[in-house]
């Protein structure tokens, strides 16, 4: 039995991970810590586990690993403490808001000899898994270009506070696609250009809510990506992850969350989508639990998280300089 704790419910993904943990036979949600007492206690009650009012108390308990779902800028300190306590770590995306922080986190886990993974559940989304297999099989030939989106609705709260999130929609919604492209194409990013701004929520948000990025990968693969919080409240679903791949042997379109039934209910008074298909969170958490049993890194590593951070950071830098930014290693 792998005993796992969750540090902070600031990120709503914590709820998905907690319920996945509770559904797994080989895992136990052994405790929750949160700096927001009320939120933490409510989550502990909801997921039938213990609430710890002190982070160190949870880290010093007999848990094997932690899932960190705090605000972006707090990831580093928590990862470093959990690593020092010898715990396996799964950290929410974006891993960090600076390349320096992400590198330090990877280093800390290496030094402490603990497994370190980044939460990129999209790799466990069935449509994206099929897309990956198809592209890797060579059925679409060499991939020359891709155009991608990761739209969402405005999350508000700390997500749109620069001090806690390190940026806005571009920070929030670039890393998933960056990771998917690396995973599917098996190439690294070389260049980034980005136009971003607060385009839609001038009254309510201070950060950017749209980023239109142009990326290049090794071998000159041309990629555009739009990261946004552009879905209005009336939109039938929270957002999307889409990629159109252009290959020498054809075109492949994947719309990861389009496994859906259209729902028209007078109770909601707006069209809604009901999703079917697998739950990516469960795939992610299952791998994390296995990594603890097998004393290995989770399949999606800290380095994967770092590579995605490099893209985001370069995007903000490009916005500042108005030029293409090279990613060098």
């Amino acid at each position: 039995m792998a005993k796992i704790g969750i540090l902070s419910f600031a990120h709503m993904h914590a709820y998905g991970y907690a319920s996945s943990l509770n559904s797994l036979p080989g895992a136990e949600l052994a405790g929750i810590w949160d700096d927001d007492l009320e939120r933490g206690e409510a989550a502990a009650k909801q997921f039938k586990t213990r609430f710890f009012s002190k982070m160190d108390a949870l880290l010093e308990s007999d848990i094997d690993g932690v899932i960190i779902t705090s605000e972006n800028i707090r990831h580093r300190a928590m990862v470093e403490r959990a690593a020092a306590a010898g715990k396996w770590i799964l950290c929410e995306k974006p891993l960090a808001t600076t390349v320096e922080d992400a590198k330090a986190m990877v280093q800390a886990c290496k030094k402490a000899k603990v497994g370190f993974g980044t939460a990129f559940p999209c790799r466990y989304s069935p449509p994206l898994m099929v897309a990956m297999q198809q592209i890797q099989s060579g059925a679409f030939g060499e991939i020359y270009a891709a155009s991608c989106t990761n739209h969402g609705s405005s999350p508000g709260g700390w997500f749109a506070q620069d001090k806690l999130a390190g940026g806005g929609a571009t920070m929030d919604h670039t890393v998933h696609v960056a990771d998917l492209l690396r995973w599917i194409l098996k190439k690294e990013f070389t260049k980034v250009y980005c136009e971003l701004g607060n385009q839609l929520h001038k009254g309510s948000l201070k950060t950017d809510d749209v980023g239109s990025l142009h990326l290049e990968m090794e071998g000159g693969v041309q990629i555009s990506h739009v990261a946004s919080w552009s879905r209005p409240k009336s939109f039938p679903t929270w957002g999307d992850v889409t990629i159109q791949f252009i290959g020498s042997k054809g075109v492949l379109d994947v719309d990861a969350f389009n496994q859906k039934i259209n729902v028209y209910s007078d109770a909601a008074m707006k069209a809604e989508w009901a999703h079917y298909g697998g739950n990516p969170d469960t795939g992610l958490v299952t791998d994390f639990v296995q990594s603890i049993h097998e004393r290995r890194d989770p399949s999606i590593t800290g380095i994967d998280g770092l590579r995605a951070v490099e893209v985001t950071v370069a995007a903000y830098q490009s916005h500042k300089t108005g030029k293409t930014v090279k990613i060098g290693r």
Partner: protein, 327 residues
């Protein structure tokens, strides 16, 4: 109104029908391939069907009031200059000319010849895009801040494969996405800068794929994707995001869809199958003819054609340099 069609390929043939629908008469057809001219002339009962070396005969004919230019883009300037010098009003297909410098020369030629010069930015007449415009102007979605335009499908063939010569056609960026670039200007004003990635491959397969980000002077961000990389079909999409809502149009959700069994080389030009009461191409003609007859200002003026070309040109420059280009 008596019309001479110059360039009797895909678009020229379609325009001849649109002009005829508006009550104009097709009196002459001219093409580098006299066969193409003859075929179109026969369809419309035009008396004259000539090769290009006889263009002067048509232009000096006082019985011709207007010319339609639907030849490959790099030939537009010379034809505009000659028609203008002969005092003929001109309907020129988009892209106006292959360079913005050429567009300026064409505009000057029309001024000198005192003729009306219309550039076929037909998207401004598409019912679905006009519906988008009306929704935007109604204020329902608040202030637009980000827009995505998508257009394309299979690689067009055209006569002598002129589209696949990227120097001539400018590829999907210059030939197809220019529709969206013009529409962005039409709706949201001028562009400040553009960044573009353009694929323009000839090996191992002929294909093009363009991805652009445009910052408008208003601050709006537009993402534009154009494809000539698909094995088949055509699709256009437009997504307008505002402070209070979102508009989305997708031609794949059209009221009509059809799949024809392919024969031969496939179509040289793609006009999406629609269920419009009046073709947007006919609306262009109505607008142009009203300008000629009644001096009523049309929806597209030559400067619009120039600015669309300048924007597409800047995009191609960005694709080459790998840096954004200021307009």
């Amino acid at each position: 109104m008596n019309v001479a069609i110059i360039g009797c390929g895909g678009m020229g043939s379609y325009h001849a029908q649109m002009a005829a629908n508006c009550g104009a008469r097709i009196v002459a057809c001219v093409d580098a391939f006299p066969e193409a001219a003859k075929k179109l002339a026969a369809t419309h009962g035009a008396k004259k069907a000539l090769g290009m070396k006889d263009l002067a005969k048509i232009l000096s004919d006082p019985g011709v009031d207007l010319v339609l230019i639907a030849t490959p883009t790099p030939t537009h300037l010379e034809l505009v200059e000659r028609a203008a010098a002969a005092g003929k009003h001109i309907f020129c297909e988009k892209p106006f000319c292959r360079t913005s410098a050429d567009c300026k020369k064409a505009i000057a030629a029309a001024k000198r010849g005192k003729v009306k010069l219309f550039v076929g930015h037909v998207l401004r007449y598409f019912h679905e895009y006009e519906a988008l415009k009306a929704q935007i102007e109604s204020g329902k979605i608040g202030t637009p801040g980000w827009v995505k335009m998508y257009r394309g499908g299979m690689f067009p063939v055209g006569s002598k494969k002129w589209f696949s010569n990227f120097d001539q056609s400018g590829g999907v960026t210059f030939d197809a996405s220019i529709h969206d670039l013009d529409w962005l200007r039409y709706m949201f004003g001028d562009a400040e800068r553009v960044y573009c990635q353009a694929l323009q491959r000839t090996e191992p397969v002929l294909m093009d794929y363009a991805q652009m980000t445009i910052r408008m002077k208003s601050g709006l961000i537009a993402t534009v994707v154009g494809t000539w990389a698909h094995p088949s079909g055509f699709r256009a999409k437009a997504e307008i995001c505002g402070s209070a809502g979102l508009l989305y149009y997708d031609s794949a959700e059209s009221p009509l869809s059809a799949q024809q069994r392919e024969s031969g080389a496939g179509p040289g030009m793609i006009i999406p199958l629609g269920a419009d009461s009046v073709s947007p191409y006919q609306l262009e003609w109505e607008d142009f003819l009203a300008w000629v007859r009644d001096d009523r200002k049309p929806r597209v003026v030559p400067e619009d054609g120039l600015k669309a070309v300048a924007l597409a040109e800047a995009a191609l420059k960005s694709a080459k340099t790998g840096q954004p280009v200021k307009l």
